[in-house]
């Protein structure tokens, strides 16, 4: 087993871990850092349950080797709540009924976060495109789209 020391920031905190070079970022987050909010639905990049944000972009962490994360900035679901307040997109998921079994939720929240933080006003089609890598079997996606649209509208009004 070949290992390597890597250092990256997770949710604003720097961490160093010794990882097996074959390990995925998902495995390191879940098994070593105990950040189990990021889920695993397929392990081959098909479902988006493992979505995290790396240097501002969404990535399926199951097909992203942990060693590639060296020196990068990573955001996971655990870091989205600040000072006991849900992020606005998290709150919108709650308010709009976008959560059922909840297994896809962390991944969707991360994808949605990148979309709403882009500051752009996206059409429904563009929102859907931005989340096309995340699967949900429970909600029919309706209220997820509604939650993202709601935050985008609020953003526009605030401008």
């Amino acid at each position: 087993m070949q290992t390597r020391n890597i250092t990256f920031t997770v949710n604003g905190k720097e961490v160093s871990v010794n990882v097996d070079v074959r390990e995925s970022l998902l495995e390191v987050l879940r098994n070593r850092l105990h950040l189990t909010g990021t889920k695993k639905g397929c392990e081959v990049g098909e479902c988006g349950a493992c979505t995290v944000i790396i240097n501002g972009e969404t990535v399926d962490s199951c097909i992203y080797l942990a060693i590639w994360a060296d020196g990068k900035e990573i955001r996971t679901i655990e870091g989205e709540e600040k000072n006991g307040n849900l992020s606005r997109i998290q709150q919108a998921f709650v308010d709009e009924g976008a959560i059922q079994c909840g297994f896809c939720t962390p991944g969707f929240v991360m994808s949605a976060t990148v979309l709403v933080e882009s500051g752009e006003k996206l059409s429904r089609e563009e929102i859907k495109k931005g989340m096309a890598g995340n699967l949900c079997r429970c909600t029919g996606y309706q209220n997820i789209v509604r939650a993202v649209e709601k935050v985008m509208e609020e953003n526009l009004q605030a401008k």
Binding site: K40, G41, T139, Q142
Partner: protein
């Protein structure tokens, strides 16, 4: 202030959106051993020899077991309540591991290793020699002369059901016209986002603990004990949050093997997690069913005779097998009335993935056949398809002649009216006449009826409430939260029954069979109706005890008191007498009379109710491309009183999207030569993405069901039933072409449009 009927926030929403809700794998620990199953790479045959010595020798491998090492106790995995009547028990036709291979991926051996990678490597080192037979992929193959028997003495037939009501021959003889047709539905999979997973360990006293993503913890406990041949009390099952179920987890798929392995590791926990590919092809699938249907109709559109035959290849093991095909017959009976009706259902063993419960338990299949056929008849006799249905739909007061279940509330006609308005049916129908060209639009609809729970089959549900010092309560329920929102709706029912605010109800979501009240679990859309009755009773008992104590504390006559919004009040004026908290404190600490207030209720539900609803859809069919675009789709439901409109709407969204996938794209394909699954992964299976899913309109026609808690009836499964036939009927409306086989994917569409000379 009412709680039932309001959009209270789901009790688990914040935990889930923060990533804090714990699912099975989130509770596992690093030092756990990892188990993997060694599966057959043939569909039909025997293991002639197996050599596990190399796997055993691999460093890091703790254990390798084969079919030679497991108890010789046949068991069933079907998640039904146990029956004391041996005649009614499920067919026990499998062992933990098998030498006889009955489908591609059957379970021959298992390895336990220090980590996943080592376990996977060990699987590759197992050597096996098969005696191979022809795969049996269809009913015809299974029943032909000389076919190998999958289970000895069965002739490959699991079971046959037949019933008849009325004089069928006379009714058909009297009919002005008789219509016959055939319909075929496809093999699909639940695709809950969290794969099948459990871990198990043995405690020092020998008891086995299984932590599992299940819908039915109390049934898992029983089945594990039966499969291992140990007393039921020796098993404890814990169910944390789970990532969806849709019926797949109403089957005890991997827990018995997991528990067995845990007995061999000296107390070390063992995790058994299926890959997505295993989840697709070696858990359960929805029954493909072939229907032959025949209906006799009078000139004025009155249906007089109905006859249906269903036959289904159920896979290598019985599991829920026949119950689903039998249920298709039961629900076939309960939408339209007639003079005589007959049903014949047959289930056949085949070397295909095992079938089991999936959202609406045989009804998406039978309603596809029925509602397509009804549409065709209406068109053939020149009657408006909606008017034809309305003429024959069952009415309030209708009693099912076999089950005895009665229609007490029926909003189907109102549902149809609403759907028709929402989609602007009449206006569009007029516009859509005389279309030409490669793209055509069409309108379709379909209706369903459904039951709330399984009565007259056995129903039992449990609820326990403990009043805390501060006037809040813990609510423990045996019904399981699987994403559908049961914790929240049952919490609402409890709050309403007690007269306390919803935020004073702490719902205990994690199930633990040692302490969770006995209940058979989450299936059959039974939670709100059946488990809700138990919760309501428990709430009423707590309220009665609060009032009794308040009466003793104040001397105000009992009948003059009520509990409203967390206060004991004068019933006539609403004037506050004392808070529930004050009563609770007295119940805990009154030195003379202390007796904390609790209720522990079990409800043996001996009633059922019918839910109704319909789908209305408008499609645009691009004939050269074989593409169907859904322009508008509405589901309208009569589920009685809606306990939580936001959650209810979410159930409909999810069910309709599943129904759309069933209609247009989803199908688990098998190689026709070998029986090997071809597309058992999320990329090739064509699960609808957010891009594929149209806007879904939802409406409720709220009736009041007198037998249900606060008027509620079933909702969870029904939304998945009618999208497929409604879409089929809309494609027919657009193109004049009848599709009698699911899914209606581009390949099939193009073939048929070509044959019809349309392209």
């Amino acid at each position: 202030m009412h709680t039932v009927g309001t959009k209270v926030q789901r009790v688990d929403a914040v935990a889930k959106v923060r990533g804090q809700a714990k699912y099975v794998d989130d509770l596992s620990t690093e030092n756990m051993l990892v188990a993997k199953v060694f599966r057959s790479t043939v569909a039909n045959g025997w293991v002639k020899s197996i050599d596990v010595s190399k796997a055993k020798a691999l460093p890091g491998v703790e254990l390798v077991v084969t079919y030679e090492d497991v108890p010789r106790i046949p068991f069933t995995t079907a998640g039904h309540p146990w029956s004391l009547d041996p005649e009614k028990q499920d067919v026990a036709d499998r062992l933990l591991l098998t030498q006889r291979i009955r489908f591609y991926g059957d379970e021959i051996a298992a390895v336990v290793a220090v980590d996943e990678l080592t376990a996977k490597k060990a699987l590759e080192l197992i050597e096996v020699e098969y005696e191979e037979y022809e795969p049996i992929l269809t009913v015809e193959d299974a029943l032909k002369e000389g076919a190998t028997e999958l289970h000895e003495g069965t002739g490959n037939i699991l079971k046959k059901t037949e019933w008849q009501v009325g004089d069928l021959e006379a009714a058909f003889a009297k009919a002005d016209c008789v219509f016959e047709d055939e319909f075929v539905t496809s093999r699909v999979q639940h695709c809950h986002l969290e794969n099948q997973i459990s871990f198990a360990y043995q405690e020092s006293d020998g008891r086995i603990v299984v932590v599992s993503s299940t819908q039915i913890p109390h049934i898992v406990r029983r089945v594990v004990a039966q499969a291992l041949g140990i007393p039921w009390g020796k098993v404890k099952v814990i169910k944390p949050y789970i990532g969806g179920g849709f019926g797949n987890r109403q089957d005890v798929v991997q827990e018995p093997l997991n528990a067995f392995l845990a007995t061999l590791t000296g107390g070390r926990p063992v995790k058994l997690e299926y890959s997505r590919e295993e989840n697709f092809t070696t858990t359960r699938t929805r029954h493909p069913i072939h229907f032959k249907i025949r209906t006799g109709v009078m000139k004025d559109g009155t249906i007089v005779a109905r006859d249906l035959e269903a036959i289904s290849p159920i896979g290598g093991y019985a599991s829920h097998g026949h119950a689903i095909v039998a249920n298709a017959g039961t629900k076939y009976r309960s939408l339209y009335s007639q003079e005589a009706i007959r049903y014949k259902g047959t289930t056949v063993y085949t070397t295909t993935p095992v079938t089991g419960a999936m959202r609406a338990y045989g009804i998406p299949q039978v309603k596809f056949a029925l509602e397509s056929h009804i549409e065709d008849i209406a068109r053939a006799i020149g009657m408006d398809p909606i008017a034809f249905r309305e003429k024959n739909l069952v009415k309030e007061g209708w009693v099912d002649p076999i089950s005895g279940n009665r229609v007490n509330s029926n909003g189907i006609r109102e549902c149809i009216k609403r759907g028709r308005e929402l989609i602007r049916w009449d206006e569009k129908k007029a516009q859509l006449k005389n279309q030409t060209g490669p793209k055509r639009r069409g309108l379709g609809m379909a209706c369903f009826s459904y039951n709330s729970g399984t009565y007259p089959l056995f129903e039992i549900a449990g609820a326990r409430i403990v009043l805390n010092q501060d006037g809040s309560v813990q609510l423990q329920i045996g019904a399981t939260e699987i994403g559908q929102g049961a914790d929240t709706t049952l919490g609402q029912i409890a709050a309403e029954a007690m007269g306390i605010p919803f935020d004073k109800v702490h719902v205990i979501s994690t199930q633990d069979t040692d302490v969770t009240p006995f209940d058979t679990g989450a299936y059959a859309s039974r939670q709100t109706y059946v488990s809700g009755m138990a919760v309501k009773k428990a709430g009423e008992e707590v309220k009665a005890k609060i009032l009794e104590r308040a009466h003793r504390m104040t001397d105000i006559p009992l009948q003059a008191l009520d509990v409203v919004n967390g206060w004991v009040v004068w019933a006539h004026s609403g004037e506050q007498v004392m808070s529930v908290e004050e009563v609770a404190m007295d119940s805990y600490y009154n030195e003379l009379t202390a007796a904390p207030i609790t209720a522990d209720v079990s409800n043996n539900c001996r009633v059922n109710s019918f839910s109704f609803g319909c789908t209305f859809v408008e499609v645009e069919v691009d004939m050269p491309l074989g593409k169907v675009e859904i322009l508008e789709i509405y589901n309208v439901h009569d589920s009685g009183k809606i306990v939580n409109p936001l959650l209810a709407e979410g159930q409909v969204h999810g069910g309709v999207s599943m129904g759309i996938g069933y209609a247009l794209s989803e199908q688990l394909l098998l190689d026709q030569k070998t029986g090997r699954p071809l597309n058992g992964n999320l990329l090739d299976y064509k699960l609808g993405t957010i891009m594929d899913t149209p806007d879904i309109g939802v409406a409720f026609v709220e009736t009041y069901e007198p037998t249900g808690p606060f008027g509620a009836k079933a909702l969870g499964e029904p939304p998945a039933i009618t999208p497929a036939p409604a879409i089929r009927n809309a494609i027919l409306d657009a193109t004049g072409v009848k599709f009698n086989e699911l899914p209606m994917n581009p390949q099939r569409l193009v073939e048929k449009f070509k044959a019809a000379g349309l392209i």
